[in-house]
Amino acid sequence: MNIDWSAQFRRVLRILRISLVPALALGYTAFYSIYPSATFPVSSDASFGWILLVLLIASVVGGIEAEYLQEALVAAVLALPLGFTFAVLLAFTPSFAGLYLLEPSSVPFFIAHYAILVLVLSFPVNLLGAVIGGLIRDRVRTRRLPNRLSR
């Protein structure tokens, strides 16, 4: 069996690119949900509406980027660990300046504990967004195709 490693590598890169936006959104919203008063936008309590909006828009963008639904779904799953990693990195940022609000070794567990709702919520939202994104992409393409053919 002949495997085209170059094509596989490109495929992995493409999935990573598709999952980038949902992962960034997950990292950001998880961090925001933990420290709503010390992040952006500043609020006394985390806004569920804001979290849902950011996650949904990001997952739709990810879905638009995907060529196939299967890719979009894989990217939606991959966004979970990537997003968690982004959230942990955000919580670590003060330690890069030598400042510690939390014991560094406990940061991942702290994030996992207090952002569990956002992490769990992101999974179905990413799947839904992937489907919606795919529909939008197909619609845009079918509109553009007649234009191209008429040239």
Binding site: Y28, S37, L99
Partner: protein, 228 residues
């Protein structure tokens, strides 16, 4: 090149949406990090410097404190804030102990003192709590990269706290009887103060975790609370 490889790269509107989304999220994350780091900076760098002095009003001609006299303590609680966010004083808890010289000299005293080991660890000092209380919501502001002070003037009279006044009267009287002045008696100060970080709202949800309250609240301490 198959269909997937052509992918979105060949379709600039999709790539533009992706780039714009990444840019917006990176900006959100950048703003979040900037705010979070500035709050962390305040937590890490703010410090308290409290000073106290005790004077006696209406001293008798022999230097003792009469029944109608007043022991007045001036406590200045200064918070130094090298951080980029302003602070607002919430509560200042203070305790001032007077060294119970008659007790240390071996006299039986009718009051409850706190034993504190000497600095060199060889003996025990006996301290009496003369002032203990708190000052809340003074709302004094400590500006960013600045300092702010809550000045406290604490009066101890017979009418205010008989037990403490009598103790201070006895201790200062003992010092005078030994040829020293009343003001020469040593005092120990303990300060515990809390401040709110300006621009960090407190959670309104009753189920908010404790750490969310702690993020916007700074607790600073000076001295030792000998009673704990």
């Amino acid at each position: 090149m198959n269909r997937a490889d052509r992918g979105a790269s060949g379709e600039w509107p999709f790539a533009a949406v992706l780039a714009a989304s990444v840019a917006v999220l990176v900006v959100f994350m950048g703003l979040s990090v900037a705010n979070f780091v500035s709050v962390s900076q305040v937590h890490a760098s703010a410090s308290v410097e409290a000073t106290s002095s005790v004077g006696y009003l209406g001293l008798a001609s022999d230097g003792t404190l009469p029944n109608n006299g007043t022991a007045r303590a001036w406590v200045n609680v200064t918070v130094l804030n090298p951080g980029p966010k302003a602070l607002v004083f919430d509560t200042v808890i203070y305790k001032l102990w007077i060294e119970d010289l008659p007790h240390e000299a071996g006299f039986a005293v009718p009051r409850t003192d706190v034993p504190v080991p000497n600095a060199n660890g060889t003996g025990v000092r006996w301290l009496f709590t003369a002032y203990s209380g708190s000052n809340t919501s003074s709302a004094v502001v400590v500006p960013a990269f600045g300092k702010g002070t809550v000045p406290l003037r604490l009066d101890l009279r017979e009418q205010i706290d008989l037990r403490a006044f009598v103790a201070v009267q006895n201790i200062t009287g003992f010092a005078v009887s030994k040829g020293a002045s009343a003001t020469a008696v040593p005092w120990e100060l303990f300060i515990l103060t809390s401040l709110w970080i300006d621009g960090v709202p407190q959670p309104t949800s009753p189920t908010a975790p404790i750490y969310q309250i702690a993020v916007g609240r700074l607790v600073l301490q000076q001295g030792t609370d000998f009673e704990h």
